[in-house]
Symmetry: C2
Subunit: 338 residues, 2 copies
């Protein structure tokens, strides 16, 4: 059973998912937790559907064969949070509080192809995938217990992947994470002062300056932000103000697929298929129609290792100026990625 515990020194909720763990003595040595199927078969490959939990959703072509899916959504085999649990709160003394591990944890299998990375997918497929992410996001929002839905992708071992077959994950949490509360507060303060969305203003300033822009099209721009926390950090931001990923239009979806594919191909070529995390940052429940926040995608390559200074201070040390990262990516051709 999962649960969440409140850190009374930072106001963070920490998720405890001991069922995902090995026993303490199994932490000897340094191997990360692995959830590969014991059989050696990839549970995400077509034909092995029986190895996963019950299918939540899938996009199929006209072929009725159940193994001929194009994108497939399944429950995470070792969920951090569960839809069956309730968000009840308990006191373990005056300082210590915990709550039930209520939430959702889904896996979105990107395509049937075990080896093809997202950078190598055709734009039609990326558009289809964004559609599935959007559908699951909107569907889970119907459950009023879920406050925040985090959509993310881990590409490569250094980014925390344990299964090679390309996939995304989605975790719905029963609390608004403290970091997201902070971002919302900072954006609200800016709005109160200026009457503008700080993210839209940032995008306008980046587009005017130009040197940190990697690529853009009608609806989106990809930039290495001014205060990037890691080398080659890239944000994809919509040009029209929308707080929530739920509000993306069909037209924007196509545009996003084009730009996302393009910058991932550049990254793939420029840094030789680097490991990276990708997150979709979007407004939490109740803030979806506010004018303060702009949903966006963050791509965070895992080229360096945060160490004691970062853990002690919460500050980042970045070794590459975003102007240089953006220039390098801009000048990188996309064609050799496919």
């Amino acid at each position: 059973m999962s649960s969440l515990r409140f850190d009374c020194t930072t106001n963070d909720w920490v998720i405890f998912a001991p069922e995902r763990a090995r026993r303490p003595h199994e932490y000897r040595g340094l191997c990360p937790p692995v959830d590969e199927s014991e059989s050696g078969l990839c549970p995400f490959c077509p034909g092995n559907e029986y190895l996963t939990g019950k299918e939540i959703y899938a996009v199929r072509g006209i072929n009725p064969d159940p193994s001929r899916w194009l994108v497939r959504v399944i429950p995470n085999k070792f969920p951090a949070l569960r839809i069956e649990d309730q968000p009840e709160r308990f006191e373990d003394g005056p300082l210590f509080r915990h709550m039930g591990g209520c939430g959702a944890h889904e896996v979105i299998i990107e395509s049937p192809d075990h080896e093809r990375t997202l950078a190598q997918q055709p734009v039609e497929h990326i558009e289809r995938l964004i559609g599935v992410l959007h559908f699951r996001f909107v569907d889970l929002l119907r459950d009023g217990r879920f406050q925040t839905i985090v959509i993310f992708k881990n590409h490569g071992e250094r980014a925390g992947t344990s299964l090679r077959h390309p996939h995304w994950q989605l975790i719905a949490t029963p609390v608004v994470p403290r970091l997201l509360r902070l971002k919302h507060q900072v954006a609200t303060d800016y709005f109160d002062l200026t009457g503008r969305c700080v993210y839209c203003q940032m995008l306008a300033d980046e587009l005017a300056f130009g040197k940190r822009v990697v690529a853009e099209n009608n609806h989106f721009a990809a930039v290495c932000p001014y205060a990037s926390h890691v080398p080659f950090e890239m944000w994809i931001m919509p040009k029209t103000h929308r707080s929530s990923f739920a509000d993306i239009t069909d037209q924007e979806r196509r545009s996003l697929a084009e730009l996302l594919g393009s910058v991932l191909r550049k990254l793939h070529v420029a840094l030789e298929n680097p490991h990276y995390n990708l997150t979709i940052d979007t407004a939490s429940r109740g803030d979806e129609d506010k004018r303060y926040f702009l949903w966006h995608i963050r791509i965070l390559p895992r080229l360096t290792t945060p160490a004691g200074f970062e853990l002690g201070s919460g500050m980042s040390i970045n070794l590459v100026l975003p102007e240089e990262a953006a220039a390098y990516l801009r000048d990188t051709p996309e064609d050799s990625a496919t």
Copy 2:
């Protein structure tokens, strides 16, 4: 030249240290930045002192040979921040601000022994080392430009070490990191409500409960905190309220050396010399004599990899309950570490 840039979406300052970096094209592949001496010689070993910058401080025995040091402090060869720079602030437009990379970045070479880990050092040497850390901390605090001093140790590659020879680092920053401001605010709020230090209360509650205590002596206790963010996270907390590491007494120093050595030996045996980060959390300038904060040591084993969910939400997923981690460490004998 280093600089800091303000992240207008989170109020974080990010340190840019491009001199530590390779060129963008050198980020192809996945090797972390390495600052091993080109010669293949360890710059931290006795006899190779000429490979480092000018010695800042050292503890020597009665032997006058300059290579017969016991603990040695040198400038970091690739400093994140520099004492020569000034903390002037500049505007790069209305949203974007940067400041000079003013600060200090020192390396404390733990001992002349290339292979002996801190867990394997005798208590007298750990006490000597704590004395050196304390001396450098107090000395750097004299420079009024430095707001926060972060002392930390990275043990093993997964913890971000690039040089194997055991060492600590110290970075003085010209701003109070946003995370430390937050911790101070949370502690202040608790004090305003209850009249007590939240950390002292937490320690009292942990000692009363007992199941998360790993070890204790007269002056310190080591606990796996209730809301540990990572498996086997351990805090060493003083039993007497002091906000700042600067105020540690000689008696406490000895006690700390004993407890730190003891729990590191347990960790070494229990998890087979795991990679870990260690940080000393202490009050920032101006808050040293407040009754809200308790300085403490955090030991953070690097057994799992934070991935997209953690980066997207700021929340942690912990696979091991601290009660289980503490019981396992309590029951682990220390003797086989040496």
